[in-house]
Amino acid sequence: MDSSAVKLETKDLKATYGKVQALKGITMKFPENRVTAIMGPSGCGKSTLIRCLNRIHELTPRTKVEGEVILDGVNIYSPKVDPVAIRRRIGMVFQKPNPFPTMTIYDNAVAGLKLNGLRNKTKLDALAEKSLRMAFLWDEVKDILSKPGTDLSGGQQQRLCIARALALEPEVILMDEPCSALDPIATAKVEQSIVELKKEFTVIIVTHNLQQAARISDYTAFMYLGKLVEFGETAKVFEKPKSELTEKYITGKFG
């Protein structure tokens, strides 16, 4: 690994959905201020993994999580830690854009702040603009901030959701296949913003698009059937993977 520090790491992380063991003991480190891509065939556990990183997985009924997830040296699953507070430090963008339908674009962008008690209009305006700029959406919406969030196109809605997550100024941003519901142009814009984001945040992105992982990530992890098969610098993983399973997957021989 290059000299960047470790922001987030997992130790023997296990997770179940009812009877299914979705994660079978994942130990890995996510470097700070880098983009780490997690890829693998359907059912490999990649979505479960990132949903464990911000403790969203446990909100689904009949799930269980074991093991540790350590943020800046503290295990976020320890009983002393408030999961709600963790989710303000680790933000998430979902696969399908999900802006709040009854709110304006402005309110959507600052929803996390307002609903967590921030009232100061000046601060809210500033954070709204900052996060919309970081999501490369400001220029397109600055004159229509009072329109409903759902008036925007799919790609814009997704960038609005990114801005919404950014407004809370988290330290880590999790993205679960953020571009899979978007057209190629919208995808390109989102990818552009992701590459900029790593200057301030640590980004972890689940993707099934290999070329996307190759384009935008610094590190790539390959998962299969709930286990971590390989992890390394993206260029190396895509030039000469260490595991034959990885090689088979990325060259399209299965999955």
Partner: protein, 271 residues
């Protein structure tokens, strides 16, 4: 195919139009300001009105709403947000059973628990009986409306570090509030038109009730009494009351439609 559908619609709407027309024609002659503001008078004495019945109905529906709306919405939230628990599944089922309960049985129940021990018919008992009618409806429609709110919105809210209770109240209810309002309206309309439970609990009166712990007149019971009387003036007044009742229903419907319309057009949730 289209022709068949149109015919079906016309057939469905005809009874409603016939009833409205009939009630209007028979009831209109009875309507006047005096009708709405005076107390009841003996048959064939002019100047009688149904003021106490109007007040009585409003009072009892008001009491019923005060009881059933908070409890019903809370139950609906429970059915929706804790849907996977056994308790929720069982109580939801029982609630559905209650929706179809014969209202006279509900009235009988309230008679036994309130009227008989206190040896007193009262508007309060009437309100309680009506709340039993309203509660399952509100709980059911609230539950269904909230279930329609996509899970992804709840997840989005939780992922922003918003605690669960706030997610439920600000986001889930905020998104599903149109369904909630419609459900409450349905319940109010239903309660306004109930007769049997009120008969057994609030009885009737020719005066305004001085407190809610006294018997009171109501529009539905009055229609029953006047329509079954042998006096034509009273029968006309019965039709007039029916007309008033229907106009109130229409008014309620319109009000909610306008509110929902405003909500959808502006699409605003006040944060």
């Amino acid at each position: 195919m289209t022709i068949l559908v149109i015919i079906a619609v016309i057939l469905a709407v005809i009874p409603l139009l016939l009833i409205l027309g009939d009630v209007f024609m028979r009831g209109a002659p009875a309507i006047s300001i005096g009708f709405l503001t005076h107390l009841q008078k003996p048959p064939n004495v002019s100047g009688g009105g149904i003021a106490n019945a109007i007040v009585g109905t409003f009072t009892m529906v008001g009491i019923a709403s005060l009881i059933s709306v908070p409890i019903g919405v809370a139950a609906g939230i429970f059915f929706s947000e804790w849907a996977t628990t056994k308790v929720s599944a069982i109580s939801s089922f029982m609630n559905d059973v209650l929706t179809g309960f014969p209202s006279i049985v509900l009235g009988l129940f309230v008679f036994v628990i309130i009227v008989y021990p206190t040896k007193q018919f009262s508007a309060f008992a009437g309100g309680v009986a009506l709340s039993f009618v309203m509660l399952p409806i509100i709980a059911r429609t609230t539950g269904e409306s909230l279930k329609l709110v996509p899970i992804t919105l709840r997840e989005a809210s939780m992922a922003l570090g918003i605690p669960r209770w706030k997610t439920i109240f600000r986001i889930v209810i905020g998104t599903g509030k149109n369904g909630l309002l419609t459900g409450i309206l349905l319940a109010v309309a239903r309660a306004t038109g109930e007769t049997a439970p009120i008969l057994l609990t609030a009885s009737t009166s020719i005066y305004f009730a001085k407190s809610i712990f006294q018997p009171t007149a109501s529009m539905t019971v009055l229609i029953y009494n006047y329509a079954t009387s042998p006096y034509s003036s009273w029968q006309t007044q019965a039709w007039g009351t029916a007309l008033v009742l229907i106009l109130i229903m229409l008014g309620l419907n319109l009000a909610v439609k306008l509110t929902i319309g405003r909500n959808l057009a502006g699409t605003r949730t006040e944060l």
